[in-house]
Amino acid sequence: MPLPITVATVTLRQALRNRSLPAACLLVTALLALSGYVSGRNQDLTNRQRSEYSEKVRSHWLQQPDRHPHRVAHYGYLAFRPKSPLAYFDSGLDSFGGVAVFLEAHRQNTTNFSEAGQSAALIRFGELTPALVLQLIVPLLLFVLGFPVVSGEREGGTLALSLAQGVSSRTLLAGKALGLLAMVPALLLPGMAILLAVRGVPDSGLLPRILALALAYGLYLAVVVWIAAAVSAASRSSRAALTTLLVLWVVACVAMPRALLTLGAARAPLPSKAQFDAMVDRDLAQEGDSHNPNDPHFAQLRARTLQKYGVRDVRDLPFNYSAFVMEESEKITSGIFRRHYSGILDTFQRQSRPLEWGALVNPYLAIRALSMALAGSDLDHFLDFQRQAETFRYDMIQNLNELHRTRIRLENDRAQKVSRDTWGGFPEFVYTPPSVAEVWRRRWTACAVLAAWLALLAVCTLRGRLL
């Protein structure tokens, strides 16, 4: 047997003998099973509700009587954001994003009713999910299991003995790290098996995301283990090793995330809704007022249109001119809104920047970002929903404006209606999450950071820099 493997086996056997490994395994299994079960049940319930209400909205839409298209444009549609199928595993910021958005003519409404906005102050402690167990608790346990692997031998005098017998320090450290690494599957597999049994085999479409998650967490926990072994090797006593590791954990997992993000948020402040709306209104006022017959923009549009069709009065046009103006102004208002909202999205990005930089040095931040992206519960997924809802809104309104333009005569406009069978021709709102390739394209750096960490630690070990 190669020497590192022998060392690893001995390390593992020791952990089994003093019962610390079985105890830790029991704890992790219980936590994974509990969090997976409760969070999963909660997610099923939530999604059932949301799809129930989506169906209600759809059936109300189809049951509409004969109506004027612009009436329907104000009746609008309600879109609900479903929880991603893996959000129960990592809820990310899912609970902090709105869920329901009312889609209507002329306006882009806010996405309302976030779970957090309807929760008691407890929500500030976070949410119990398997990801929380894997990202925070398992590393802490690995630190506790790993702190004495080398420093303990040093204190007991066995380290000098092994080195004197010709075991090289790098072999020893590599073996210790491998031994600790072997504890990871022992810690996780029972809990994961229960999770699988409770949640059932996931949909095959989710497989790429699940495999990527497995890879990411594998890398993360390997980095954690190696850090534990390295700190243990570099410390004079077990006590010092434990202290260092615990301080590292607290800084990396508790203090640093909030400190960095609040720093980012302070440096890139967002406008209030009132300020934002005022900015949009100012631009809209400059673009022109479709209701004002003397407004230069719309006067120009009328002159152009009349000339194009060779008529002298809008009543002689082959279509409903007021609907045509509505179409035009929807285009303008949506464009202005989109331009201003992209400024908000830029600010979101600038707010997250310190956290992204932090992920380069803090593996916890890297796995956090990667995990919620793969679970479909990060900011990108939320914004993606908003974008799809806005596209749906715009298309729906412009389709209704087109109906208005072609099927309603200008004269006595308000009194006319289109038939009820028209409504079935409109699509249902269905949110399609981005593909895993898309997620990977945005987030591969986080995975690369974890791999780089592991490579760095491995190289340092082999070069004998750590012991």
Partner: protein
């Protein structure tokens, strides 16, 4: 224990590796926390301060646009006009931002159906909301206990491991008093940093020295006392330093992370709020269906609600703004039951969370801090109620202009009702019962520690 030993002990402790660094770091984090909480609240205050100006500009623009259409009454203009409402933060809010960043604080409402406007959020980055604030509450609840653990876990075990404990026991002082003295020496600097942080906040944020601040300070002291007692209880089990560190950190993990998050998950699973969607749908259907119904059907129900306008019936054969705004309001009425249920559900969530939090000190402190600073869930609900009342006030102010024919004199757009609401009034003024519960828990743990220590020492 003689003063000389105490002094020596203090010197010895403070010269330990990382002790001064830890205290300085905690104090610095305290300053950052004050700045961060203040930044969030100050930004809201600035937006609220700008709100009247923005509202006036918005109103003047609309008035200019509608200047030529005074003969048709205010109905058309009211369709576009937003009325600004404000939720002023309490003075203590920067210390515990609580849920204030999750909720709107400057809702603007039109005279249309309110249930379609009341739940709009402000502009916020969910990623920032999800991680939460680095405010004084966060520091106290999560970080201070870690320093207590770091400083106290080896009070006894380090002496035993180095063999000094036997020598100390030779002094004519009871071992328990000796241990307590040593533990207090490690604990008091942390208390001092907490008080210094509060003092810094008082000067920095210009806070009033009142009962609320005192309660907040006392709550913090008691909470730290709880962790002190817990550390005593663990150290008297006479485990090794490493064992104590791991055991205390395990307690921290259980109390600060696992228990509150499980409780939160259980509450949201137990009390789901489908009423949110229900009321949205009811309001939308309730209003829009009226367009397809005879006007008199809507008006009959509206006049039942507001008989003072029944003398002014609306014509069936043409559009009137009176009918339009009546339809809008009847949409609200149809959603009223669901909206009331939604509100009850949320308050139930908060009440149940508060009741169960009594068993989880960190959750208890977090929710009590939110209550003292007016940043929990119920101030948000109270604000929404105040917006509801304001909306009714506005409607009643405008209905006469919409219903009466010939019209009453023109609207004085500069003398309309104004909305005001502050978290200051709703915030709790004292936290006596919560502080009592915490000190009870601390005393039980301390008593356990004494009993345990005495029994062990008599064996030794």
């Amino acid at each position: 224990m003689s003063r000389r030993i105490l002094l020596l002990e203090m010197k010895n402790f403070l010269s330990g590796r990382g002790v001064i660094a830890g205290l300085v770091l905690l104090a610095a984090a305290g300053l950052y926390a004050i700045a961060q909480g203040n930044q969030v609240i100050e930004q809201q205050r600035r937006a609220l301060a700008a709100a009247p100006r923005l509202a006036a500009e918005h109103r003047e623009t609309l008035l200019a646009m509608h200047a030529g259409k005074t003969e048709e009454g205010p109905g058309g203009l009211l369709y576009y006009l937003h009325f600004s409402t404000v939720r002023e933060p309490s003075r203590l809010a920067p210390l515990a931002v609580g849920l204030r960043d999750l909720h709107p604080y400057n809702l603007r409402v039109r005279l249309l159906a309110l249930e379609g406007q009341l739940y709009d959020g402000d502009i916020a980055n969910p990623a920032v909301l999800a991680l939460g604030n680095f405010d004084v509450a966060f520091l106290l609840v999560l970080c201070y206990p870690l320093l207590v653990i770091a400083f106290l876990h080896n009070t006894l075990s380090a002496e035993q491991e180095s063999g000094a404990w036997r020598m100390l026991c030779a002094y004519p002082v009871s071992p328990w008093r000796m241990l307590l003295g040593k533990a207090l020496i490690r604990f008091i600097p942390i208390l001092a940093v907490w008080l210094a942080t509060l003092l810094a906040a008082v000067f920095w944020l210009d806070l009033p020295f009142d009962g609320r601040l005192l309660s907040l300070g006392l709550l913090g002291l008691t909470y730290l006392g709880f962790w002190f007692a817990l550390a005593l209880a663990v150290m008297t089990t006479q485990g090794s330093s490493n064992f104590n560190a791991v055991a205390l950190l395990g307690c921290w993990l259980l109390l600060v992370v696992l228990a509150p998050v499980s409780l939160n998950l259980a509450l949201s699973a137990q009390l789901p709020v489908p009423e949110a969607f229900e009321l949205t749908i009811l309001q939308r259907e309730g209003y829009h269906n009226k367009w397809d119904q005879p006007k008199q059907a809507t008006m009959r129900r509206f006049f039942d609600r507001y008989p003072q306008f029944a003398a002014y019936p609306v014509p069936e054969d043409r559009f009137t703004w009176a009918w339009y705004y009546a339809m809008q309001h009847m949409g609200d009425e149809e959603a009223a039951t669901a909206a009331a249920r939604w509100k009850e559900k949320l308050l139930a969530r908060e009440q149940r969370a508060a009741a169960l939090s009594s068993f989880i000190p960190p959750a208890l402190v977090q929710s009590t801090l939110s209550r003292l600073c007016g940043t929990g869930l119920s101030p948000h609900i109270a604000y929404l109620d105040s917006v509801r009342r304001y909306h009714e006030e506005l409607r009643l102010a405008f209905y006469p202009y919409l219903f009466q024919d010939p019209p009453v004199p023109p609207v004085d757009w500069h003398a309309l009702p104004r909305h005001s609401f502050s978290d200051e009034e709703g915030a709790a003024v004292s936290a006596a019962s919560e502080t009592g519960v915490l000190s009870g828990a601390a005393l039980i743990l301390a008593a356990f520690a004494v009993w345990r220590f005495r029994r062990r020492s008599s064996v030794l």
